[in-house]
Symmetry: C2
Subunit: 247 residues, 2 copies
């Protein structure tokens, strides 16, 4: 018996998110089926981040236990032969039998990408949010600074969430611009449900002049989801990286 | 009556190329239908570049004549309301009544994009060609230099083509690398059928060590399609820009 860790990249466009659900096509579901078939065992992966429907990933992680004699490093290649084009195993490797993708200290990097120009760009549409409203990027940068650090982010958590403790630490929240592409890059060891998309939606409202950077303090203090911006659409969000302490 | 020029961007994934064909969905076909409906006239556009099935564009051009009173600049906005997400009008403007997108001197820029890493990347798959074979980019750059300038490119033209004169001038052919992304950027005022994709396929074989940069002279001189590399897959190709002399 060994425990194998997979680094998984995917285009979330055609999936109902990571988490397995009856009658829905999910990343976890496809991985379980493909691994079970490949290894001829019943496999159930345990994932690091349960990304939402339509969200993409360059490097999400999961683990599973297997009796297979196939070397762990070869599993990535065998899987990529069988997986649909929109899911790819970037790396497979053996880990300690008690290694768990959610019970380790880790730093997650999410990126929310915005296209800001007059007309939409078909070639980037699936992985970005488009707006023709001219955004004030300097104000977005300024607002982002207010959100860095440890805060109670209840105002930035979708109301459906059942989590009790809504205090989180954003290690860094950067806004960058490259031509017509604006990226919001959030790093932290854990985010609330929809938190990055709500932050993106809030910074978009700052960029549009509907909110001021200095409003961020009040919004945090209010703990009121209604005060923050809209939840930005899923397609603009990508889980870029998870860095585990031992990496 | 006025002549209107459209700058058109599209994701070619789900289209049988630019040119209208019976029983196939094409960019030209969708533009004709959408314009005819919007302007309530029978509209037939005349395009600049008849890109192949699966090829993308940031800026192809076409023109049409219309009796409409809608200002030419507004047509882009009205069209984008009606077009599917994978086609976008970047700009619309009035041009002289004798302006023709193929009878003007122009400089076209095509880019062929390659992802070169161990495992495929789902998020870029629709717009790039993936290879895990480690490419020698310096050799690709060296080979590209041989192809610049005026040559008879018969060896780089698909055999189905009926064109008589296969002499063309490549203004520049650059190979750039940015992380795992290798771009082949070709500029010229005209290319033969499949020429950029055959050049990309040939440079890929150089990168893999199957051909040497110095073989390029022989391949050109042979005028033999069989001597050049394979036609690289369509999804990696993008018409980036057409610059008309008066622009």
């Amino acid at each position: 018996m060994k425990r194998v860790r997979l680094k998984v990249a995917y285009d979330g466009t055609n999936y109902c998110g990571w988490q397995i659900q009856p009658n829905e096509v999910t990343i976890e579901g496809v991985l379980n089926e493909t691994l079970s078939e490949l290894l001829d065992e019943e496999i159930e992966v345990v994932g690091a981040s349960r990304t939402d429907s339509g969200v993409h990933a360059d490097g999400n992680y999961c683990v599973f236990d297997t009796e297979t004699h196939i070397p762990a490093e070869k599993i990535a290649y065998a899987m990529n032969q069988r997986l649909p084009e929109d899911i790819s195993i970037v790396k497979s490797e053996e880990v300690d039998s008690d290694w768990h993708p959610r019970y380790q200290n880790s730093m997650k990097t999410y990126q929310y990408t915005i296209i800001n120009r007059d007309m939409p760009d078909p070639v980037r549409r699936l992985y970005t949010y488009f707006t023709y409203a001219k955004l004030d990027v300097d104000k977005m940068k300024e607002a982002a600074k207010y959100l860095e650090g440890e805060h109670d982010f209840e105002a930035f958590c979708s109301t459906g969430s059942q989590v009790e403790n809504t205090v989180r630490t954003i290690e860094s929240l950067k806004v960058t611009q490259n031509g017509d592409e604006i990226a919001i890059i959030a790093k932290g060891n854990g985010f609330l449900y929809n938190m990055v998309r709500i932050i993106a939606g809030t910074l978009l409202e700052v960029g549009e002049g509907k909110l001021e950077p200095s409003d961020m303090d009040d919004i945090i203090a209010s703990k009121d989801r209604g005060r923050a911006g809209k939840t930005a659409v899923a397609r603009g969000l990508r889980l870029v990286e998870i860095k585990y302490d031992e990496n």
